[in-house]
Symmetry: C2
Subunit: 230 residues, 2 copies
DNA sequence: GTCTATAACGAGATAGAC
DNA sequence: GTCTATCTCGTTATAGAC
């Protein structure tokens, strides 16, 4: 019986993957707003009702795609960091940044799904919160090791922002100085801002050397979180 | 005859505006991907073919909405700058930044239309290029007056980025030092990055005091383009 | 000339009976 | 799981009102 169940489970995993693959292809062609279970089923030669055995609703399929995308970019960031583990923190920071951009360029539609405009009528469940923070956590980890024991050389926060920075630190960057936490959040928004501008066309007719500008910015941000060049 | 033509033209303008208003309402409800000429016509009590007297295609209606959105945010930025005309450049810079964010919060769907994920199957025509640059031009103008005749105190660009910065300067910021042009582009991406993260939900469960963080960043960016605090 | 309405096309989605 | 009848869509051709 266990082999039968094993086979069944394997089949289920394969079909689930096939559904998500097809849905991703549709995402690229039509956008998330038009993702329809029926079209996915048709493309797979299934009947739409059969899909509901794998995903109880269109929104749950969307959630699965979003979680996969977050996991994919998170894994890319973690891989880049691991490959640079022997390097100084600044190099690891830069490696993560470049990995983030590379992933986005390689998966533009999945990037749009998670960092672009929200899908109308869809509201993300809590399942996405964990995977969504993997890239950020990788950046935090690098900065944390750099600060271990050492002091920091960041300009002080304005008083008005300090409580918020303290709260954020307690929430997801415990042990770091609040100035660094705030700088991290800002850096993270800037990274995505650069990539979004590049991917969403805002750099068309404006910036040609996007890779060069991005690398430049990544270095500035490293500086901003306390990882100076030398 | 001129009154007749006047009346006709007035009617035409009114109908055109009504179509765009209804389309904007649909944009908010369903997203740009699902914008449909027929639904707009139905809602207005017209027949779909009648819309073609006003917009030759669905894509041209989308283009009109995009141009309107760019003009709306551009006008908001210019208004903010004009209202702060007597203030020092840094205050004018901050006013533009705040106006940008305020506009985005007040018009989230139009913001998503122009700064969010591209609409699948739609490619923006050249008509959008001019309006798209109004906010940026306003920022450039403020920095330009600040630099008139005076020197600058920005860190030098890496050699690898200098040619690109020189090219960008010639293209849309003539007369500014290339370091400033590069910093302007980066600042612009960061502004939109902050607003996008706020509007698109990336700050959920992360940043509470979004206004405070944004103002803080706007100040840092002013510094970055050479408009220091005192 | 300017507009609206009717009708139609080909393509695709959808709901429900079977 | 299948089939069909009935929607929607963008777009065009055409005819007639103003």
């Amino acid at each position: 019986m266990s082999t039968v169940r094993g086979a069944r489970e394997r089949a289920r995993i394969e079909v689930t993957a096939a559904i998500k693959d097809e849905a991703r292809r549709m995402l690229a062609a039509e956008g998330a707003a038009k993702l329809s279970l029926r079209a996915v089923a048709r493309e797979l030669g299934m009947v739409s009702s059969a899909l509901y055995r794998y995903f109880p609703s269109r929104d749950e399929l969307l959630t699965a795609l979003i979680v996969d995308a977050y996991d994919s970019v998170g894994a890319a960031a973690e891989r880049a960091e691991a490959a640079a583990r022997a390097d100084p923190p600044r190099a690891r920071w830069l490696a993560i940044c470049e990995a983030f951009r590379s992933w986005a360029l390689a998966h533009p539609h999945e990037y749009a799904l998670i960092y672009g405009s929200p899908v109308p009528g869809y509201s993300a469940p809590l399942d996405t919160v964990g995977p969504a923070s993997r890239v950020g956590n990788t950046l935090i980890a690098v900065v944390r090791t750099a600060y271990e024991g050492r002091g920091l050389a960041l300009p002080p926060l304005p008083d008005s922002l300090r409580p918020e920075a303290v709260r954020m630190t307690a929430d997801f960057a415990e042990g770091l100085p609040p100035e660094v936490t705030a700088a991290l959040v800002v850096a993270w928004a800037q990274l995505a801002g650069m990539v979004s501008f590049e991917l969403f066309g805002q750099f068309n007719r404006v910036v040609e050397d996007r890779a060069g500008l991005f690398t430049h910015v990544a270095g500035q941000l490293a500086q901003g979180v306390g990882l100076p060049a030398v």
